[in-house]
């Protein structure tokens, strides 16, 4: 007991347990099925900036995304999962290399349906834990009774930086501007849904049919903290295969393991209905609800404490 910072974490561990119960009740009450998929997988989705931890000749999942989409293809139309994920090298105030992720997916839906889910889920969790709809985090306040503010990536660059999103991509400083100048302003007063990313930052998102240079992707922000990432899912196996090829190539060029091609996922993709899916960081949600500034204090043990 001596080395366990129990006194400091005691409250947050109780709240963690309650929040997870509230989330399960929220989704089960809306007809979602909680599914479990293997944590140890042969091929994570290849993404240039997400590194998986090897586990013998396989990997620990960086997200349950591919398995969840295969279940959508198999006919499970409303599914969610709360699980552990691992991302190598990610450690900071808001990052742990092992963390808890909530993912949910809806068949026959797009990212706008998930925006509504986010608003309702945040409200349900906050009311259940605090009795109200106002959260205070590090001196900032966010009111969850109303809708989230919708802001496009294009508008965000225009409002908070000296260049456009396209210029930032061209000059290779998109991430730097996003982290230093845009993100800290998002989600104060009301949550912000930052949406319609340039297709180059679309990952596994579908392109907008009316504006193919944009991807139907959004990120949810509260008090400057990025809480969730959502897509209208790409269901075209040909385009998905090509995007994986490009990501694997970029990983190889960067000297990283390109990861094997997740072929069974690509094979099932043709059977996947139009869908939308989202991943939300449970640890960060607990930080926000309890006004705890460091992720270390919402988990029982960090790697450094083991």
């Amino acid at each position: 007991m001596a080395s366990f910072r129990g006194g400091r974490k005691c409250g947050s561990l109780h709240t963690r347990s309650r929040i997870i119960t509230v989330i399960r009740t929220f989704f089960e009450g809306r007809g979602f099925l909680h599914l479990e998929t293997p944590c140890r997988i042969p091929a994570p989705a290849p993404e240039l900036h997400i590194d998986a931890l090897p586990s013998r000749d396989w990997y620990l999942q960086t997200s349950p995304e591919l398995a969840m989409k295969r279940l959508l293809a198999a006919g499970y139309d409303r599914i969610f999962q709360i699980c552990r994920c691992w991302r190598d090298g990610e450690r900071g105030r808001l990052h742990l290399p092992e963390f808890t992720l909530l993912e949910w997916y809806r068949a026959d839906a797009d990212y706008t349906d998930l925006m509504t889910d986010c608003e309702e889920l945040l409200r349900a969790v906050t009311v259940a834990i605090t009795g109200g709809t106002l959260l205070s985090f590090q001196g900032m306040e966010v009111e969850l009774a109303g809708p989230a503010v919708r802001l496009t990536v294009r508008e965000a660059f225009c409002r908070y930086t000296a260049m456009t999103a396209d210029e930032a991509l061209e000059r290779d400083c998109f991430d730097e501007l996003m982290a230093a100048e845009i993100e800290p302003n998002l989600g104060i007063g009301a949550p912000v849904i930052l949406h319609d990313y340039p297709a180059a930052r679309g990952a596994l998102a579908r392109r907008r049919s009316d504006a193919p240079e944009l991807a139907e992707r959004f990120e949810l922000y509260l008090c400057g903290v990025e809480l969730a990432n959502a897509f209208s899912e790409l269901t075209d196996p040909v385009e998905q295969t090509e995007r994986f090829r490009l990501e694997r190539e970029e990983r190889s060029i960067a000297g990283k393991d390109p990861y094997p091609i997740p072929q069974p996922f690509l094979d099932d993709l043709a059977a996947m209905p139009p869908s939308a899916g989202i991943a939300l960081g449970i640890d960060r949600l607990i930080m926000l609800v309890l006004d705890i500034p460091i992720i270390d204090d919402v988990v029982a043990f960090t790697p450094e404490e083991l």
Binding site: R93, H95, D175, A179
Partner: protein
């Protein structure tokens, strides 16, 4: 060599041939973007601060700093000379690098000299030094003004507040960490 992943608060690195101390560090990763290592750092020679953001895989040369016990010898113009008592090597340091420490150096005092690439960039003094008061006003007996301190100048030119009963020529103890009067040396 350090890489971006080694960056943390308290790490000392070399940048543009000067040593920097990282005073604040944060790892960020804007959604699906690349890892960014945000630092604030302080130049250990000039004291100026910088904000720098790095990406994964960048490399940094450690700042190889060395602490050596040396004896303060003498001052010439604006230079202060110290000698390593083991090797008899001498180093000189400009008063700008010494800051207030220049007021607390006494001939033959043992100090820790901080060296970067053989160049002296700072000193760590003993916590307390004894210095003689060279100038202070006489305390008028029966003074009811209520002042519980008065200015005094010590032999090195340093000015501080001392209790009213301290007289010219007295030896006082100064705390070098705060620069404040600590006590008088009896006898």
């Amino acid at each position: 060599m350090y890489t971006s992943a080694d960056l943390r608060k308290g790490l000392k690195i070399t940048l543009d041939n000067e040593p920097y101390l990282i005073t604040s560090f944060d790892f960020t990763k804007p959604g699906k973007g690349q890892a960014l290592y945000r630092t604030k750092m302080k130049n250990m020679i000039t004291g100026t601060t910088l904000d720098r953001t790095y990406r994964s895989g960048e490399t940094f040369e450690p700042a190889s700093l060395e602490d050596r016990v040396m004896t303060y010898l003498y001052k010439e113009d604006t230079h202060y000379t110290f000698m390593d008592s083991q090797t008899f090597d001498q180093v000189a340091m400009d008063e700008s690098a010494l800051g207030d420490a220049k007021y607390f150096l006494i001939d033959n005092m043992q100090v820790d000299v901080l060296l970067f690439r053989e160049k002296a960039i700072g000193v760590n003094l003993p916590n307390f030094v004894n210095l003689r008061v060279s100038n202070t006003e006489q305390w008028a007996k029966g003074d009811t003004s209520g002042n519980d301190s008065k200015p005094a100048t010590v032999e090195t030119g340093y000015v501080l507040r001392v209790p009213p009963f301290i007289e010219e020529g007295e030896l006082i103890v100064i705390d070098t960490r705060t620069g404040e009067y600590s006590t008088r040396v009896k006898g």
